[in-house]
């Protein structure tokens, strides 16, 4: 993430910058130096640590939506599709 280096130079990362970096951080899409800067900041900033936790909670909640939205193939459609598959792919 050289743009991060260009932007921040040798400065430490501040909170307002951190909140824009969270997704890159969680994706592991940072160079080692920037990641180290972020880790240092998190170690010293309970507010950003909480913000990161809240981000993680949001991601987890979104994942839970999958379980609440059960969409199964109705048996008739399933049969028709299996038949279509057999008809096209059978020899």
């Amino acid at each position: 993430m050289s743009w991060v280096r260009r932007m921040f130079g040798r400065r430490e990362i501040v909170c307002r910058e951190f909140v824009e970096l969270v997704t890159a951080y969680l994706d592991g899409a940072m160079d080692t130096r920037t990641r180290a800067r972020v880790d240092r900041h998190l170690g010293a900033c309970p507010a950003c640590t909480r913000y990161l936790e809240q981000f993680r909670t949001v991601i987890e909640l979104t994942g839970q939506l999958r379980e609440t939205d059960v969409a199964t193939v109705d048996p008739v459609t399933r049969e028709e599709l299996m038949a279509a598959f057999a008809a096209t792919r059978g020899d």
Partner: protein, 215 residues
């Protein structure tokens, strides 16, 4: 070597095995594919068209397209993203007819707002105060349900590209690479869309569940 799967047959988790089996007309392989992907495809289709009934038709047509197109699939992307792109193409046609927007690759024009209200930071960029803690008692099912409702509603009101990325990444659990292939996005653009989406959802949850200071 492929491990044996639950049915005592081939391991369909291995995409090479799956593809070979499908092309050979293996019914178990197609059943496996249906079971694995039909749900996610139905969820996706509902995001693009105006009714569940139309969504079901789109998904049905997608599966027919998959069956017919298996010989042409070149394996440059995963089967999953290939199937999804078939769905997108079909949904796009229906969506245009119904004036619903199918996500497109543009990143701009969707509000470059910062993730957090700038007023919450001091001039030197530090939080003025801690982000409020969120109401939560693990045993409180009503709260848990409420949180899920807030998230669901917030996602549904996202701009379509952000909504699609957060659905594929965080709801369906797709990899960054698969999402980029499915939506024709660069990794950077995909990440920007995902970040904006998550930030918006976080703001919505905070608005509903953030404990008032001093309460």
């Amino acid at each position: 070597m492929a491990a044996t799967g639950a049915r005592g047959g081939a391991n369909f988790e291995d995409e090479k095995v799956l593809l070979m089996s499908l092309r050979a007309g293996d019914q178990d392989a197609f059943a496996w594919l249906l079971d694995r992907f039909d749900g996610p495809l139905r969820r996706a289709a509902r995001r693009y068209v105006s009714s569940d009934a139309v969504a079901d038709e789109v998904v049905g047509d997608t599966w027919l397209g998959v069956i017919k197109g298996l010989d042409r699939f070149e394996g440059r992307s995963t089967l999953k993203t290939w199937i999804y792109r078939i769905l997108m193409n079909i949904a796009r046609t229906r969506g245009v007819r119904e004036s619903r927007s199918v996500p497109f690759a543009a990143v701009g024009g969707e509000g470059d707002e910062p993730s957090v209200d700038p007023d919450r930071f001091s001039r030197d960029g530090q939080w003025v105060s801690m982000p409020p803690d969120w109401e939560s008692q693990p045993e409180d099912r009503a709260l848990a349900r409420e949180a899920l409702d807030v998230v669901r509603t917030a996602i549904e009101s996202l701009p379509s590209s952000q909504r699609e990325v957060i659905n594929l990444r965080d709801l369906e659990g797709w990899s960054s690479e698969d999402v980029c292939n499915a939506l024709d996005l660069s990794e950077t653009n995909q990440r920007v869309l995902l970040h904006r989406a998550r930030a918006k959802v976080r703001r919505a949850v905070e608005a509903r569940l953030g404990r008032e200071v001093g309460s």
